[in-house]
C-alpha cells in the first residue's frame, strides 16, 4: 500500500485524556502500511501558552517540539488546533531564536489526521467502528485556521456502516477556546448549549470532531445532560476492526 513513515504527535489532551484516540490512529495508519513511531517525552505544542499571550514560554515549548520531531518524515496530529499551532505559529515564534527554517520544515511535514489520510495518503474508504448515524462539527482552527472542511466529511461520507447527517451551524464555535472555557464559564456553557441543541436535533448517534479540545467541551456537555449522543474523535470511527 505505502512505505511511508509517520510520527504521531499525540498532544497533551490526547495523551492525558484521550489515549484511545492515539491508539486508534496508530492502528489505522498501520493498517494502511504506514510505519508509526512516537517520539518520546512529548508534552504539548504550547498553544495554551500562546493563546493566553505567554509567547516567550510558548517559544520554549515549541523549540522542544521542533527538536523532538526533527527526523520525522511526516508528523500526524489528532487536533486541528495543535496542527495549526505548529504550521502557522511556530515559524514566527522561533524566528528570534534563529530556528525559523527548522520550524518551517516541521510545519511543512505536519498534518492534521484527516488531511494526512485524504490529502497525503489519498485514502478515503474505511469501515466504521461505531455503526449508525454520525454528524460532524467543524473545529475552528481546522476550518478557519487550516481551511479544511472537506477531508473529514469525505471520510465520514464514505465510511461503511455510518450515515453522515449535516449539523446545522456546524461551523460555529463550541465554546471551548482553551482558557476561555474557564475564564468565561457561563458564556462558554451557553455557546455549548446551543451547539448541543443543534447536535441532538440531527438525530445522530455520534458527534464527530477532529480536535480534542472541542471533544472535551462537547463530550463533557453531552454526558452531563445524559444525552444518548456520544462525542468521538474521527480516528475512533475509522478504526473499524476493533
Amino acid at each position: 500500500m505505502t512505505d511511508r513513515r509517520a510520527s504521531l504527535m499525540v498532544t497533551c489532551l490526547g495523551d492525558l485524556f484521550f489515549p484511545e484516540v492515539g491508539v486508534s490512529i496508530v492502528r489505522v495508519l498501520r493498517k494502511l502500511g504506514v510505519t508509526v513511531d512516537v517520539p518520546a517525552d512529548q508534552t504539548c505544542c504550547g498553544l495554551p501558552l500562546f493563546n493566553s499571550g505567554y509567547h516567550t514560554e510558548a517559544a520554549a515549548v515549541a523549540r522542544r517540539t521542533v527538536s523532538l520531531f526533527k527526523d520525522s518524515e511526516h508528523v500526524v496530529v489528532p487536533s486541528g488546533s495543535c496542527a495549526w499551532m505548529v504550521k502557522h505559529e511556530y515559524p514566527g515564534l522561533l524566528a528570534e531564536a534563529g530556528l525559523a527554517r527548522e520550524a518551517e520544515q516541521l510545519a511543512a511535514r505536519t498534518h492534521e489526521l484527516s488531511q494526512f489520510l485524504v490529502r497525503v495518503l489519498g485514502v478515503t474508504e474505511f469501515t466504521s467502528a461505531v455503526p449508525g448515524r454520525v454528524t460532524y462539527h467543524d473545529s475552528c482552527h481546522l476550518l478557519r485556521g487550516l481551511h479544511e472542511s472537506q477531508s473529514p466529511r469525505t471520510l465520514l461520507g464514505k465510511l461503511r456502516g455510518a450515515e453522515l447527517v449535516p449539523l446545522p451551524g456546524a461551523d460555529e464555535c463550541c465554546g471551548f477556546g482553551g482558557s476561555f472555557a474557564v475564564r468565561l464559564p457561563e458564556v462558554s456553557s451557553q455557546i455549548l448549549a446551543k451547539k448541543l441543541a443543534n447536535v441532538e436535533a440531527t438525530g445522530a448517534d455520534c458527534l464527530v470532531a477532529c480536535d480534542a479540545g472541542c471533544l472535551m467541551q462537547m463530550g463533557g456537555g453531552l454526558t452531563r445532560k445524559k444525552s444518548r449522543v456520544r462525542a468521538l474523535h474521527l480516528a475512533e470511527l475509522l478504526d473499524g476492526s476493533r
Binding site: F17, A60, R144, V187, S189, Q190, L192, G219
Partner: protein, 455 residues
C-alpha cells in the same frame, strides 16, 4: 446575560444578518477580490494618511467648508458645542454615528442646553430608553418589537402596537417636526473622499439626507482613518460595505455631501464643518493595532461572534462592542481597559472570516493578551499559573509527575468514570460540563509498555 429577551432578540437578529451576508456574497463572485482590493486601498492610504488628509482639508475648504482637528474626544466635543452655541442652536438633529457615540456628544450638548435628537430609528429608540447602542449598525438590536412598543407607549404617551411598520410611522411623525425645527444637523461619515472633498453617508432610512440638508448648519464627525483617496476607491468600498453589514447590494441611500449650499442651489446648509477625530488612531498607524484602522464599522464581526451573540453589546462596557470593539477600545482607552475583554473571545476566527477587509482580529487579541501579561496587568495568580504550566511543558519528567498527581487528586471525584464536580478554579468547568479523568495510563505510558501497540 440572563435576560432571555435579550438572547432571543440577539439570536434572531444576528442569525438573519449572517444569512443575508452569506447570500449577498454568494451571488457576487467578484466580492472576494474586492475585499482584498479594499484592504489594499486602506493599507496604502494609511501609508500616507497625512497627505490624504491635507488633500481632503484643502478640498473641503475650497468648497466653502470648515475643517477642525480634534486630538481627543474632549476637543471634539468642545468644537461642536462651540459651533452650536455660535450658531444659536437650540436643537440638533443627528443621523446615526458611532464617532459621536465615541465622543459622548449627546451628553455634552445637553449639558450646554442644546437638545440632541437622534433620527435613525434604532438610535431614536435607544435615546428614548436612555441607553447606548449595543451594535455598531443596529443600535437597538437587543430590543424586541414588544419592548419598543412599550417604550413608545410610555415615553411618547400614546398607544403603540408591537408592529414594526406602525412603530416606524409613529417615530417618523415625531421626527418630522424636529427636522424642520433643528438649527444644526450632526452626522458621522462612512468615508471622506480626499480628491473631491466629499463626505459619504451610507444609510437606509433617508434621515441622513434630511439631517444634512434641512438645518442651517451641518457638522460631520469622523475618525481620521475614514479618508479614501478618490471616488474610484470609494466604489470598491461601497460594493462590499452594505453586503457585509445588512446583506444589501447597496444601502437604500448613499449620500455624497460636498460642502455648504452654493450660490444658486436651493437646499443645503449655510455652514458645513468637518471634525477630524484622532482619539488614539494616529498612534496606531505604527502600532500593534494598525490593522484595526481598516475597519469599516459594518458590524459583520459582531453578528458571527459566539460571545457577542450570547452577551450582547452592552456587556462589553464601551462604545464599540464585539471583537473589533475590543481592539477599538484598546486603541481609544489604552490596553489596561481591555485586560479582561481581551479574553472575551474563544479565538474561533469567525470574525476575521466575516470581516470585509480581512482584519485579523484574533491575532491582535492574542497580542493584547501578551501585552497584558508582559506589562504585568494580568492578575498575579494567572501569571504564576502560566509560568508553572510552561515549566511543566518544558520538562517531560515534571509533565509525567503532574499526570500522576492528577490521577491521585481526581480519585475522590472520578468515581463514575467522569469527573462531574471539582473544587475551586476547576469547578468553573464542572459546573456545566463533565471532564474526562486523567487516563489510568496515558498514551505515552501505553506506547512505552504495550508491545502490541508498538509492533
Amino acid at each position: 446575560m440572563k435576560d432571555t429577551f435579550l438572547q432571543e432578540a440577539l439570536t434572531i437578529a444576528t442569525t438573519k444578518f449572517i444569512g443575508l451576508r452569506r447570500e449577498a456574497f454568494a451571488g457576487f463572485p467578484e466580492g472576494e477580490a474586492l475585499r482584498d482590493q479594499a484592504r489594499a486601498i486602506k493599507e496604502a492610504t494609511l501609508q500616507e494618511l497625512d497627505r490624504h488628509l491635507e488633500t481632503l482639508i484643502a478640498n473641503v475648504e475650497r468648497l466653502g467648508g470648515h475643517v477642525h482637528y480634534a486630538a481627543t474626544p474632549a476637543e471634539a466635543r468642545s468644537i461642536i458645542v462651540d459651533i452650536a452655541r455660535r450658531t444659536g442652536t437650540r436643537m440638533a438633529v443627528k443621523s446615526k454615528s458611532m464617532a459621536t457615540e465615541e465622543i459622548h456628544l449627546n451628553e455634552a450638548l445637553e449639558a450646554a442646553g442644546i437638545t440632541p435628537v437622534e433620527t435613525d430609528l434604532g438610535e431614536y429608540i435607544i435615546q428614548l430608553a436612555h441607553e447606548r447602542p449595543s451594535h455598531i449598525i443596529a443600535p437597538a438590536i437587543h430590543k424586541t418589537k414588544g419592548q419598543v412598543a412599550e417604550l413608545f407607549t410610555r415615553e411618547l404617551k400614546r398607544p403603540a402596537e408591537p408592529d414594526p411598520e406602525a412603530l416606524t410611522r409613529i417615530a417618523r411623525g415625531e421626527l418630522r417636526e424636529k427636522f424642520l425645527q433643528a438649527d444644526l444637523g450632526i452626522t458621522g461619515a462612512n468615508f471622506a473622499v480626499a480628491d473631491t472633498g466629499t463626505i459619504v453617508l451610507v444609510t437606509n432610512e433617508g434621515n441622513g439626507r434630511m439631517v444634512t440638508s434641512l438645518p442651517r448648519v451641518h457638522v460631520a464627525v469622523m475618525g481620521v482613518e475614514k479618508v479614501v483617496p478618490s471616488l474610484t476607491d470609494l466604489m470598491v468600498f461601497l460594493a462590499i460595505l452594505a453586503k457585509s453589514a445588512t446583506g444589501q447590494k447597496l444601502s437604500v441611500y448613499t449620500s455624497l455631501v460636498q460642502g455648504p449650499r452654493r450660490a444658486g442651489e436651493l437646499e443645503g446648509p449655510e455652514e458645513f464643518h468637518l471634525v477630524l477625530l484622532d482619539g488614539g488612531r494616529i498612534a496606531q498607524i505604527g502600532g500593534p493595532l494598525r490593522e484595526a484602522l481598516s475597519c469599516l464599522r459594518c458590524g459583520a464581526c459582531l453578528n458571527v461572534c459566539p460571545v457577542y451573540r450570547q452577551i450582547g453589546g452592552h456587556a462589553y462596557g464601551y462604545t464599540y462592542p464585539g471583537p473589533i470593539g475590543i481592539l477599538l477600545t484598546a486603541m481609544m482607552e489604552g490596553t489596561p481597559a481591555v485586560k479582561d475583554l481581551a479574553h472575551a473571545s474563544s479565538l474561533c476566527g469567525a470574525c476575521a472570516d466575516a470581516c470585509p477587509v480581512r482584519i485579523d482580529i484574533p491575532r491582535m487579541l492574542i497580542d493584547l493578551r501578551r501585552e497584558v501579561g508582559d506589562r504585568k496587568i494580568a492578575p498575579w495568580s494567572e501569571r504564576v499559573a502560566f509560568t508553572l504550566l510552561s515549566r511543566l511543558l518544558r520538562h517531560p519528567r515534571l509533565y509525567r509527575l503532574a499526570a500522576r498527581a492528577g490521577r491521585l487528586l481526581q480519585r475522590p471525584f472520578a468515581g463514575s468514570g467522569r469527573v462531574s464536580r471539582l473544587p475551586r478554579f476547576f469547578g468553573e468547568w464542572t459546573r456545566t460540563r463533565d471532564l474526562p479523568p486523567v487516563a489510568s495510563r496515558t498514551f505515552q505510558e501505553r506506547w512505552a509498555s504495550d508491545k502490541d501497540l508498538r509492533a
